[in-house]
């Protein structure tokens, strides 16, 4: 496990996938056409019709495929365009985090954000915080061989060989 604040790679950029509700924060000014954030090129955004559309297993699969972190962006709580999508997603996310904890994946690699259409600045600040958190956690553990077949071409090159699995017990209650 890496010590807080100092990662072995220094400028290592965590690979992150963000699923963004199309009614939540507008990303056309902060991301390229393919969804890559301009300021953090290792973060890729995928737009979905509503945060409630996201099946939690997709997040899990993305982590298994080698992502260092995954986040979901919904509308501000109480203001979901589809009334309940962000609340439902927050609940599903909590369940998924408890499930991941049992599987020795740090739940801090998942984040649920909530930003309105014009909150790009606040959104970028939250992404920055999330990336800092991931840098403290270090790269995701290399996929365990017992896990089912996956499509990642190569294991993450930055995977710490000394710590095969990230201990999850200190990742929050």
């Amino acid at each position: 496990m890496t010590t807080a604040g100092a990662t072995p790679q220094g400028t290592w950029a965590p690979r992150v996938v963000g699923l963004v509700c199309d009614w939540a924060v507008a990303t056309n000014t902060i991301a390229d056409g393919d969804g890559r954030l301009r300021r953090h090129p290792s973060v890729v955004l995928i737009r979905v019709p509503c945060s409630g559309f996201i099946r939690p297993s997709w997040l899990e699969d993305t982590l298994k495929a080698g992502a260092d972190g995954v986040f979901v962006v919904g509308c501000p709580y109480g203001d979901c365009l589809n009334r309940e999508g962000n609340y439902l997603m927050r609940e599903r996310m909590d369940q998924l985090q408890r499930r991941l904890q049992r599987r020795k994946v740090d739940p801090a690699r998942l984040a649920m954000l909530a930003h309105g259409l014009h909150d790009e600045t606040a959104f970028m600040a939250d992404v920055g915080t999330f990336l800092d958190r991931l840098r403290q956690l270090g790269p995701a553990a290399a996929p365990r061989p017992a896990a089912p077949a996956r499509t990642a071409a190569s294991p993450p090159s930055g995977g710490p060989a000394a710590a095969p699995a990230v201990p999850a017990e200190d990742g929050g209650a």
Binding site: V44, P49, I54, W58, A65, G85, L117
Partner: protein
Amino acid sequence: MYRRALTALQRFTLRLDVAINRVYPTDLNPLYYTGGLTNLFLFILVLSGIFIFFYYVPSLFEGHASIVYLTEQVPYGGLIRGIHRYSADAFIIAALLHLLRNWFTDRYLFSRDSPWISGMFMLLLGGFIGATGYILVWDDRALAILGSFDDLLRSIPLVGRAFADLLVGGEGLGEATLPRILLLHVGPASALYVLLWWHYVRLRHPKIWPPATWVLVSLGVVTLLAAVIPAVSGTPAAPGTSPSAIALDVFFLLPFWLAGFLPPLVVVLSLAGLFAVGFVIPYVNRESDAAMGVRHAGVAQVIDGNCTGCELCYYDCPYNAIVMVPSPYPGLSRAAASRKLLAVVVDSRCVECGICIGACPFEALELPGVLESEITRRAVEAVSIAGPVRA
């Protein structure tokens, strides 16, 4: 033009939300509960109205006196009368905020036209109930409003005269007038609850009450207003006299104020035009399908062979668009082989949000425009192509 104006207004609405969310926790933002606040004020109106109903005498000679008696003699009568008056104003303000907010933030699209249309009817009835409420007080203002209302109705060609007679209860003022107005005050108020059923019918868990904090604040504000600025009657109505200057309530009496200097038919036509526009709004396509992007992803489709009948999508759909029917045949996957129920999407209720897809652990639902395979492919691709990037 319309599109640009709405975009600007949407920007303003969301900016306002951000500002309010700095002050309150997002769960307490009062603008997120405009519908609940409207319902709360309606509830206050019904309760205080029942109280006033016990004392009101619908008669030309006792109507005014009974309200004065209620205000001055009955314990807390004046306070409750004031609460009735001010929550009526608050009701209209909250209802208009609710309308504007849902309009500016695109919450009337696709199959969400039915709350919009029922809301338009409720707004119309709400204004009418307010006007009749002012007439019931039967002071000089009431007489002026009744006369103006009569003029407005009579200006409608062909049927206007019949409408006016319906309102007044026969030819000219008579003992039937105030009972008729009372009926027209209480009847539409009950009809509001029928329309509310229509308003809510497609919503799975409608937020019909604001948080407790705002219930208390709203109650406090109307009670305080009623105590500080009591609602009072003018001089008793005396038919034949022309009233002097009258303070007009802008929320209910705007048409009568306009009728003061515009021809009655013009006022009636502009009101009718306003509501006609209101009924058209949900059917005006603001954006092209292409500009809607993933938002217009098509009605959710059940993948029959995978559905296990577990009802998770049924519980999560915010629009009651999924119904569970007895399964006519077993599913194909192993989990679905012994199912008893099958999920069916009601096309006319689906708003294409895809919340059922997130709810389904069995991959038995898809949005045609945004397939699951496409999302997962892009997610995995993003991870594998990115590699460890040096920033």
